[in-house]
Each structure stands twice: as C-alpha cells, then as structure tokens.
Symmetry: none
Subunit: 203 residues, 4 copies
DNA sequence: TATTAAGCGAGACGGTACGTCCTGTCTTTTC
DNA sequence: GAAAAGACAGGACGTACCGTCTCGCTTAATA
C-alpha cells in the first residue's frame, strides 16, 4: 500500500503554509485569471517554497479546488435547500442566489478557473464530482423528493434530469456569457421547467 | 478606424499556410490535449513560422476557434433543424446526435479546448457567441417557432429560455462528466422540458 | 563568366537607393552599434526594400565597407602623406590626426563595426586589404621611401614592418581602450620607432 | 553595495555547469565561428538550461571571456617572460610563440570572437583590460625593466609604449590578415623596435 | 535533554514554450 | 527589370515557469 515515493507525513504538515497557499491561489486567480496563474507566483505570494506545494498537491487545479473547498468549509453536508412548502418559490430563491454569485466578480474568476481545470483534467473532474458536485446535487434532489412526496412533482420524474434541467441553463449562460444572469431569467427557467415536472393530472 | 500597429495585408495572405495551421492545431489538440498544446508545435507541424501564426491570430484560442469554423464551413446559415411536424421526435434526433458528437473522442478533446479558451477569454467568447453560438441558436429557435405556430408550444414561451432548457443539460453532463451522454438521457430531457412548454390547455 | 544566379543588371541600378542605403547604414551603426545593426533597419531607414540590399551586397559587412568607401571617396589614390622633408614631424602630424579621428565618437562606432566585420569575415578582410588597407599602406611606404632616399632611414629597412611599427600601436590602444589616444602618445611612438629605423652610422 | 535585482546566490552555483558551459562555448566558437555562436547552442552542448547562462553571465562575450580565463588559469601572476640576459633573443622567443599561437586554428577562431566582443562592449573591454591585458603587460614590462637596469634599454624609455611597439604589429597583422605571422616577421619587429629603444650612447 | 528526521523557505538546475526580432527568399505591384 | 513592400519559413533572442533537486533552518517526536 506504499507509494512509489516516500509519502509525506501529514501529521507534520504546516497548517499555516496550507492556508497561506490556498488563500494566495484564490487571490491570484481572481487578480490575474487562470491562464496567468503560476505555481511560482502562488508560492511567492504565500511565502512558501515551491516544493511545499508540489509535496501536498498533485496539480495546480488541485490547489485551486482545495481553495474552493476551504471557502465552502462547513457548508457541505450540513446545508439544505430552503423548504417553505412552496417548491417554486424555494427554487427561485436558490437560482437567484446562484445567479448573483456567478455574477459577483470575486467569484467569477476563480469559478472559471476551477471549471477550466475540470474541463482539462478528468481526475480532478472525478474528484470534484465526488466531493462537491454530488453532495450538492443530493441536497437539491432532497428538496425535490420532498416535493414529490407532497404531490407537487410527478411520481415518475427522474430527479437527476430534473436537477440538470433546473440548474444547467444558468451555468450555460454564465459560461458562454450568452445572456444576463438576471432574476427574471432564473424565475422563467424555474417556472418553465417545473411546469414540465408536475403530475399529469395536476391543476 | 485604423489599427495601432500596421495591420498585415490580408490580400497577400498565404491560404496554404492558413489551412495547414488550422489543420495542425485541430490535430494536435486532439492528440496531446489543450494544456499541452503549444504555438511552437502547431507551427512545426504546419511547416510554418511562428510569426505567421502571431501575424494572423491574436491568441491560441483564436486559432482553435478558426479551426472549428473551418470544419463547420458551409454548415452555418444554410443548415436547419429537421422539421417532420413532430417536434418531440425532431428534438430527440438532434439531441441524440449532439450527445453522440460530444462522446466522440475525435471531438471531445478539441471541444474541451475551445470551451476552455472561451471560459478564459471574454473577447473570444464574444466572437464565439456572434459567429457560432447565435446562428446555431437561431436555427434552433426557428424550429421551435414553427412548432409554436402549429400550436405545439405555448404562445408566450420565451424561446431563448426554451433552447437553454433543452440543450444546457447535455452540455453540463458533458462538461462535468456527471453522467452518460446516452440516447435515453437525451430523450428524457426532451420529454420533460417539452411538457413544460406546451400550451396550458394541452392539445 | 556568369553567376549561378542571374546577375543583376548594374546599368539599371538606382543610384538614389545605393546612397540612401549606405548613408543609413553609416548612421545606424553610429547610433545603435554594430551588434544591434540589422538589414531590416537599414532598409527601413533608407526607404528601400530589403531585396535591394541583398541584390547588391553579399553581406552586412560589405554594406558597411562600401559606406566607408563612400566617405573616403576621392581620397584614395590621390592623397599622399605630407612631405616637408622632416620625416619625424610629418609622421607626428599624421599619427596625431589618426588618433583624433579614432577618438571622434562619430567615427569610433562605425570604425569598430567595420573592424568587427573584418575580424569575422575573411572574404571581407581580403577585400578591405585590397581596396583600402594596401593603397593606404602604399601611400605611407611612399613617404618612408622618400626618407630612405634622403638617407633618413636605414637602406635595408623593411618598409612593411616600418609601417606596422608606426601605426599598429595606435590601433591597438584604440581597439582595447588600453590608454589615451593622445598627441603625446603619438609623438612618443614616432620618436621611438624612428630611432630604430635610422641608418646605423647616423647621428 | 546591493544590486538592483536579487543577485544569484553564488555559494549554490554548480561548478559542473560552469565548466561545461565554458568548455562548450570555447569548442563551439572554434567550430562555427563567432557570428554563428548562439547561447542556445552553448546551453545545448553543455547540457545546461539557458537560464543558467543568463543567471551568471551578463553577455555572450562574458562567457567567452571566462572561457579564456579558464584556459589561462594559473598562468597569470605566476608566469614570467624568459630572462636569459639576452633581451633580443628572449623577445624573439616570445613573439615567435605568440605568432604561432595566433596562427593555430584552434586559437584563431576563439581569439577573434573575444576580440569582436571587446570591440563591441566597453564593459567587457574594461574587464579584459583589468584581468588579462594589464597583468600580461606587467609581465612584459618586468622583463623590459630588467633589461633597463642592465643598461640594455634607454633609461628614459616609456615601457608602456615599448610593449605596444613590440606586440601591436603582430596583432595588427593577425587581425587584418595583412601578412604572414612568420618567425622572420617576429624577428624583424624585435630587431627594429629594440634598436630604437637602446641607450643613446650605444653599448 | 539531546538526537534525529521530517517539513519548511529558498532558490539553482535542466528544460519547454513564450512572444519578439531578424534573416534571407519569394511574390506582388508600381515605376 | 529594378525597386518598394511585405509575407513567408526558420531560428535565436531573453523571459517566465515547469517540476526536481539540493541547501540550511526550524520543529516535533524519539531516545
């Protein structure tokens, strides 16, 4: 079970360096964009040696990814979508919030960087899926399942498809900048998609 | 309207070099992936000088983009979605084809590379929007409009949203590799989305 | 007698371009130094096409050399060293003038450039020898021969060696910047060298 | 006393790389000549990165110069001209050796390259003067001083001029290829120059 | 309480690619 | 048919980073 190289001893890892590196990575990607982001710059900004980065992360994308995880620390697992009983209103709240976050210049740069790495690197993509995307999808599905039990959604609805239908359009607009990420857009997407998911005999 | 630098004289441009460079770029991105793609390698493979690339394209992404345009040459503007009268069947045909294309390893690599460049470079994104995305969206909207006239879609449906709802889920799955790009998935997306777009009184 | 390439027709040669190119070369080498001198810059400054330079000169050094010839046009062949009857005084006059010229920043740069080309290119060196150095050496030897006839120099003196002995020290100091090119230095060289060249029984 | 850029840490310098680079530079300049010598080729031949050259040397000429210094390592300071008591014979020995060295194709190329750099670069010229030319001149002057004490040279002879008078003619012939660097030439120069430097009353 | 061994900052190293500049050739257009 | 203009293939420039590799230094666990 040993690595080909002597594995680093995690107990001795400097928490100070770890945080400084992740913070520096997040800052820099926001300042200079993904394509200009370099390990050298991260190390310099963090006051760390390059080797410290190479020792603990397999790629630049992994650093970036961990920087995101650090931000969303505590959120995952505990968080749940709002459930006021009104599915449409709850989803509109969530999509509007998502739209706003994607529009925020503080998050736009780093988010694009992470997406680029995911596009590039299948390993990182799998990691992202497992550790961020799937948990968040489960949270979304949980809310839809609740609505399904309440009879607000068709019983045979594929919840995976439902989540994609609801969230992918926003992502697509953000990615290609093909339209404004407005509250109106969020609302229309929710309204149209939900109409397709209601029980057949619904009123 | 003049450039800040003396612009190259397009009338003297070598068509032979242009084609060789675009072909080399497309080949290489498929072989080594985007992150390993270099201007140097493109020039070498094309038997061209690096300066010839820098003279005519502002960025690596622009080369890649033109390589895509060269492939889809003639398609844009002339093409239209199938219109058998059965909207659902027609859309399933198109989405299945799209899913297949995205699964094809010959297109997966270059497509990811192009998307990365678009994520990175707002200028290229705008160019892409104008020259590829908008025309293709118009074609899709044309088919939906035809269905709208036939009473198969709600009269007040926002066709832009409709297109996003239909096509974004596929793109999202491809991008994050979050599920199989199967014909079943394409069908389910079309069925669910269309149900939400039909006239209220149901035909 | 034909060249491997169709030789240019000298009768059609543009005198205007020739002069502009030589002038531009001379100016530029003074401004930016030899190592930064480029054919492109010469052509641009002269308002000439690069091909015009390549058509008429075999190398950058040849252009530079012709630029020098243009300057000394008319001098060669006609000129002679002063001959007042006092050899020592005459030589001091000449060496002092040479020292001054080598110190002049207008000539220092171009002269170094020419010397560099000569060091580099044996063909150009031979050309230089034939067309500039030998004629000038002959002029100097003529003056020494006159002194020899007058009994001021040893009858068996090798005049080639004599010229080198008189002029090389100055050149060496200039080249290596190993000391001031002063009138005193010129005088001392002449006095010392001449003492060694006088007839044995001389007073 | 600090540099404007963070100076490299000389204690960490790789002696292996240094020697390999200097050796490669010396070899290459002999093989392809100065004008075809490139940093790129030196690095490749030495198995070194280009940055390693740029880190430690300010210019191509400086590399070449150090390559020369490496060759003459140990010679400077310790060496002295032969002193058999017979000045003329000793000088003839030295000049003949110099002439032979300048004729040796192994040294001709590199030597020309170094001279070109010296002509080009005043900073390098000053360095050369200080570290090679002046020490060697001092050695030559030492021999002349010894002769002066013995009464073989005029008491008021300017030894700097004397050295130039003796050695510059050889250099000049080599540089312009204006004549054979023969033993006869060396002898004649020594005989003629020395005759001008002897005490007035002749011993 | 010393010893020791890992992580650490620092940064030199062999490399690759960058984007710029220039070379020498070729072609097009003008005179 | 020479000349201005400038695109072309090619190649070196000097810079920026890559990922690897020592260096001393600090620091936590072991002897």
């Amino acid at each position: 079970m040993s690595q080909n190289r002597t594995a680093p001893d995690a107990t001795r890892r400097s928490e100070r360096s770890r945080r400084a590196i992740l913070a520096a990575a997040f800052e820099l990607v926001g300042e200079v964009g993904y394509s200009k982001l370099s390990i050298e710059a991260i190390a310099a900004r963090a006051g760390a040696g390059k080797q410290t980065i190479y020792r603990w992360w397999p790629s630049k994308g992994a650093v970036l990814f961990d920087a995101f995880l650090m931000l969303s620390e505590g959120e995952t697992g505990t968080a749940a979508l709002p459930d006021t009983g009104d599915l449409e209103a709850d989803l509109k709240t969530v999509l509007r919030a998502t739209a706003e976050e994607l529009s925020d210049p503080r998050y736009d740069g780093p988010m694009r960087a992470l997406n680029i790495e995911i596009l590039n690197d299948p390993v990182l993509a799998a990691d992202y899926l497992q550790r961020l995307d799937l948990p968040m999808k489960e949270i979304k599905k949980e809310r839809l399942r609740s609505a399904q039990c309440a009879g607000d959604l068709a019983a045979d609805l594929d919840l995976d498809v439902a989540v994609d239908l609801l969230f992918a359009p926003l992502l697509s607009r953000w990615m290609f900048r093909s339209g404004p990420l407005s509250a109106e857009f969020a609302d229309t997407v929710v309204e149209t998609a939900l109409r397709g998911m209601r029980p057949a005999g619904g009123g």
